[in-house]
């Protein structure tokens, strides 16, 4: 069923015949070997070896991962890889999870599906994250790909349960339907009843976050038919009795997501449920636990023996409940909890989970609530780090932290690859010393040499970023909020961090100088997000000019509370600079410049030379702060300097005014001018060029 390469595409490799002679392997052998390579990184490396390998790799590739749907076009993808069966596609920037990307921003899957339908008729698997998916897309998907097997939608939006019904009705060979945390129009649960009565191929079914009632009889029949079902995650409407019936039908489950656990059980039901759980010997992963009660938890104990992953992130457990549960989970490697377990609960984690590798602690209640000071602190984190020496992934929401605690934690667990610490109050210092948290994250990057992902929080100066730039050699993803003190911070990160792939920044004082300081770096990165920073429109334009292969998007929102601050932030720059000096009017020499020069150097030359210069008028030239400040004492001897449409920023002017108190430095700001701000900046490399589906509020430079 593969597209055979008897007549390879004439376009890219017309000289293939000559190179083939020198190749040590026949294509068939090479492709067979390559088919054993699963890691996409390895395959990428293979494709770079030589043209033969590139071709062999592209013909044998069946799975493709696209980390940013706008980094490549479906046309380019299908041209290069003719035999793809499985596509993973990610859309919006991650900050869309936190409502920072306006609705209707884009990341529509439909254009991809249209081309897949003609080129990848045998597509089997589609995994979408943060994509916009319509019901029409889902219906098209269901009808266009006869072999379609697996659909996974995570953090997607734009569709309803009707779209799911299309999938369940038409995909006769479906093995996986994984619908997790989407912004979905949850009309009804009837999609579940649409599976054909002879349908029995399902292996993974997850509808934990769909709140509509499903027809339980239909679900029961489905589960009893699908003997190879391994993963079942039901929604919170499922009662314990129903859960019991499902467990009896599917004792071979590897992963279970329970429904609501808030029910009274007769003693007989209690023991029946317990024995049903006892029969689930293969259970590795448990999640769900909506509205859990202490009474119920002992029922789970027999099922805990082989658990490697326990997801309690939707269960507000108390510390004693958690510790009683953990005693029965000796093999636990991953644990997600809410901070309602408090530090005592985490102490139980430290003493009961020696194999723990990943811990996530989510806030249990609305974190905006600042009166409730329950939750976890540095004490709990420390306890975990003492007990769980294998810990290498942590996501930790807390309200207080100290530098000393973090330093101890990373000493205890030096193998962190992911360290995401969120101190929920922005710019909160070490609450004991009142120092910035710089040393904490400095300790993280110094100690954890394997660190790939880092999220920083708390009061941070540029020092944190100096540490990160200097020590975080393997860092791939960095998230920054409310941190740094100047451009220098971001510059350090861009200059250091050789493996940086994703940089997300919000509400930091980083401006154009930072953005442009190492702009070639962006070539090797997947994306840069900046919102609420000091970047201006001109900075973005310059970036777009210098780096034509980058897509530089400026997202401008209006009529929206959330963007007001951005509007103000964005107004930092002044388009015009007038500088006058009312002194020493002798032999005037005047220079007028317009639309000239290529860098700061031009203006610097003029200022350094030209000893009798008195008036300098410049408009629309790429001269910036460096030029302005290069020979600022010169201005003492000049009558005036006018600069408009240049790259001088507010900071530069301030500095000049400070340095030269005898100068009047005037900044003339014009408004009604939409060109002077960049609220939200999203930069990513793309071989597809600027996208065509950008909504009006997105300006692609």
């Amino acid at each position: 069923m593969n597209h055979k390469r008897k007549n390879p595409d004439p376009s890219p490799d017309s000289d293939e015949s000559t190179t083939q002679l020198s190749s040590p392997f026949p294509d068939e052998v090479l492709e067979r070997v390559l088919s054993l390579l699963n890691s996409r990184k390895d395959r990428n490396s293979v494709s770079l070896v030589c043209k033969d390998w590139y071709d062999a790799e592209r013909w044998s590739r069946t799975h493709v991962f696209i980390g940013n749907c706008y980094s490549v076009s479906p046309e380019i993808l299908t041209r290069r890889f003719p035999n793809i069966r499985s596509v993973t596609l990610k859309g919006k920037p991650r900050f869309s999870d936190f409502d920072l990307v306006p609705p209707k921003w884009g990341a529509y899957v439909h254009s991809w599906l249209l081309l897949f339908a003609t080129k990848y008729h045998f597509l089997e698997e589609l995994r979408l994250k943060r994509m916009t998916v319509s019901d029409e897309s889902l219906k098209f998907l269901a009808l266009s790909f006869p072999n379609f097997k697996a659909l996974s939608l995570l953090s997607c939006d734009g569709f309803s349960t009707d779209g799911l019904a299309s999938i369940t009705t038409h995909c006769k060979n479906l093995t996986e339907l994984d619908i997790q945390e989407n912004d979905i129009d949850d009309k009804s649960g009837k999609w579940l009843s649409c599976f054909p009565e002879n349908f029995m191929s399902l292996e993974v079914l997850n509808f934990a976050n769909l709140n509509s009632d499903v027809n339980f009889e239909a679900l029961e029949r489905l589960v009893s038919r699908c003997k190879s079902l391994k993963v079942l995650k039901v929604n919170e409407n499922m009662t314990l009795e129903q859960l019991h019936r499902l467990l009896v039908l599917a004792p071979h489950l590897r992963e279970l997501g329970t429904g609501s656990l808030l029910q009274e059980l007769m003693p007989r039901q209690h023991s029946e449920l317990k024995s049903a759980f006892n029969n689930c010997k293969n259970l590795n992963i448990l999640s769900g636990f909506y509205e859990v009660t202490s009474i119920f938890l002992p029922v789970l104990y027999p099922a805990c023996t082989n658990l490697t992953f326990l997801n309690l992130s939707y269960a507000a457990l108390r510390s004693d409940e958690l510790s009683n549960l953990l005693i029965h989970c000796p093999l636990l490697q991953r644990l997600w909890v809410q901070d309602s377990v408090e530090d005592e609960g985490l102490e139980a984690v430290g003493s009961n989970c020696p194999l723990l590798e990943e811990l996530r602690v989510f806030p249990a209640s609305d974190p905006f609530e600042d009166e409730i000071l329950h939750g976890v602190t540095e004490t709990g984190f420390l306890a975990v780090s003492y007990g769980c020496k294998k810990l290498h992934y942590v996501l930790y929401f807390c309200r207080q932290m100290t530098n000393a605690a973090v330093a101890t934690i990373v000493q205890n667990c030096p193998d962190f690859t992911h360290f995401r610490l969120c101190i929920m109050n922005p710019r909160q210092p070490d609450y004991q010393t009142n120092e910035p948290m710089d040393e904490a994250f400095g300790a993280v990057v110094k100690t954890c040499t394997k660190l790939r992902r880092l999220a920083v929080s708390g009061l941070l100066t540029d020092l944190t970023f100096e540490y990160i730039g200097k020590y975080a050699k393997n860092l791939e993803t960095l998230s920054v909020a409310f941190a740094g003190s100047s451009d220098w911070g971001m510059e350090c990160v861009l200059k250091g961090c050789p493996k940086l792939r994703k940089l997300e920044i919000r509400d930091c004082p980083f401006g154009n100088a930072a953005l442009l300081s190492s702009f070639r770096k962006y070539e090797s990165m997947r994306s840069l997000w900046m919102s609420g920073c000091k970047v201006t429109m001109d900075g973005c334009r310059l970036l777009a000019q210098e780096m034509p292969r980058l897509n530089v998007e400026v997202i401008r929102e209006c009529g929206n509370d959330g963007c007001q601050a951005d509007k103000l932030y964005g107004q930092e720059r002044m388009p015009h600079l007038l500088f006058s000096l009312f002194e020493l009017c002798t032999n005037l020499e005047t220079l007028s410049v317009a639309f000239a020069g290529s860098s700061d150097w031009g203006m610097e030359c003029v200022l350094k030379g030209c000893p009798k210069l008195r008036k300098l008028e410049i408009r629309d030239c790429p001269f910036g702060n460096a030029a302005l400040l290069s020979s600022f004492r010169k201005y003492e001897s000049m009558r005036s300097l006018w600069m408009s449409g240049c790259k001088v920023t507010m900071d530069g002017c301030r500095l000049l005014a400070q340095e030269m108190p005898r100068l009047n430095v005037e900044v003339i700001r014009e408004c009604g001018n939409d060109g002077c701000q960049a609220d939200k900046l999203y930069v990513y490399r793309s071989v597809a060029g600027p996208r065509k589906d950008a909504p009006p509020f997105v300006l692609t430079l």
Partner: protein, 330 residues
């Protein structure tokens, strides 16, 4: 001092208009130098907003509220100090003031840091002001912070996540049905809310407010727009916190309906163990029912079901109203 801010519609690309604006500039500058600080501040803000492509008036009005930028108060003093420390540059002071009003931390200290060695007094002041702002709970005003997926946020505030207690398991059998109905109702609300919030931009424009019950660490949210009067609100809250309040007040399921009705009104008139209070825009805690519903809707920021004993320690202003309130209904 000729600190000048020019208001005008000219685009930056048109430098002819720029030149023609120089005259305006001078005119404004003389006015400006004599104008008091407040007007300068407003002018600067108005300008910033005028630069946006959207309705400036609306934003203008909204942005200036202290609620949106809780750090303004502390930061303005900082900008004053910055203007005194660098009095030479009039533009710097006026602009940094505009910045500070935006609630950002970027004034002289970022300039100073860019300069490298110039750690001036302003930077120090700024920092302490910031930490004060943070301590005041500035986080509650920031969109998308803390970084919790919006899906989780919605379920956190809308789903019932009461801490499990031994006591209420005895009630489970009876309360289960009503509970699940309530749960579903709120979920539907949340879905609708999501939709409209997306359209409107931010969910903050909706009428969801936080509700807490004394002694229960985990709160919930209630949609005030779904109510027209205090009675239905009290009823809803009663349902929402049914298990917890009944655990404490040891009311059992037999007379449930009856109890509910009477207790909800009790919660309003202050004759039960619990009393419904709210925090108004100014941050004062008031008794629910002290003002007409419409005014309440406009000023309420969150709700708390307090023990009557503790509610007596409410802020002085609200105690006055308490007095009025107490005498009224009886």
């Amino acid at each position: 001092m000729q600190g000048v801010v020019v208001l005008g519609g000219a685009t930056r690309s048109g430098s002819i208009s720029t030149l023609s604006m120089e005259d305006n500039n001078l005119v404004l500058s003389s006015e400006d130098s004599s104008s008091p600080d407040e007007s300068e501040l407003e002018l600067a803000l108005g300008l910033s907003l005028g630069g946006t492509a959207c309705k400036p008036q609306q934003h203008y009005a909204r942005i200036l509220t202290a609620k949106d930028f809780p750090s303004v108060g502390s930061s303005v003093s900082v900008s004053a100090s910055s203007s005194s420390s660098s009095s030479s540059s009039s533009c710097s002071s006026s602009l940094s003031r505009a910045n500070v009003t935006a609630g950002t931390k970027r004034s002289a200290d970022s300039v100073a840091a860019a300069n490298g060695a110039r750690a001036n007094v302003t930077a120090g002041t700024k920092r302490s002001a910031d930490s004060v702002a943070a301590a005041n709970g500035a986080s509650s005003q920031v969109v998308g912070w803390p970084p919790i997926r919006s899906y989780r946020m919605n379920s956190l505030v809308n789903q019932a996540k009461l801490p499990a207690t031994e006591e209420f398991s005895s009630l489970i059998g009876n309360s289960k049905n009503s509970n699940s109905v309530v749960g579903k109702g709120t979920n539907n609300c949340s879905d609708k809310n999501n939709g409209s919030a997306k359209e409107n931009g931010r969910s903050r424009s909706s009428l969801f407010v936080k509700v807490n019950l004394d002694g229960t660490p985990i709160g919930r949210k209630v949609d005030l727009s779904a109510h027209r009067c205090y009675e239905t609100l009290a009823q809803t809250l009663e349902d929402m916190f049914h298990t917890s309040t009944s655990t404490i007040t040891s009311i059992r399921s037999s007379g449930e309906e009856h109890d509910k009705a009477t207790r909800s009104s009790k919660m309003l008139d202050g004759s039960s163990d619990f009393v419904l209070t709210y925090e108004d825009k100014e941050g004062d805690w008031m008794l629910v029912g002290d003002v007409p519903w419409g005014m309440f809707i406009n000023s309420v920021r969150r709700l708390k079901i307090m023990r009557t004993s503790e509610a007596k320690g409410l802020a002085p202003r609200s105690e006055e109203r308490n007095g009025r309130q107490r005498t009224n209904p009886i």
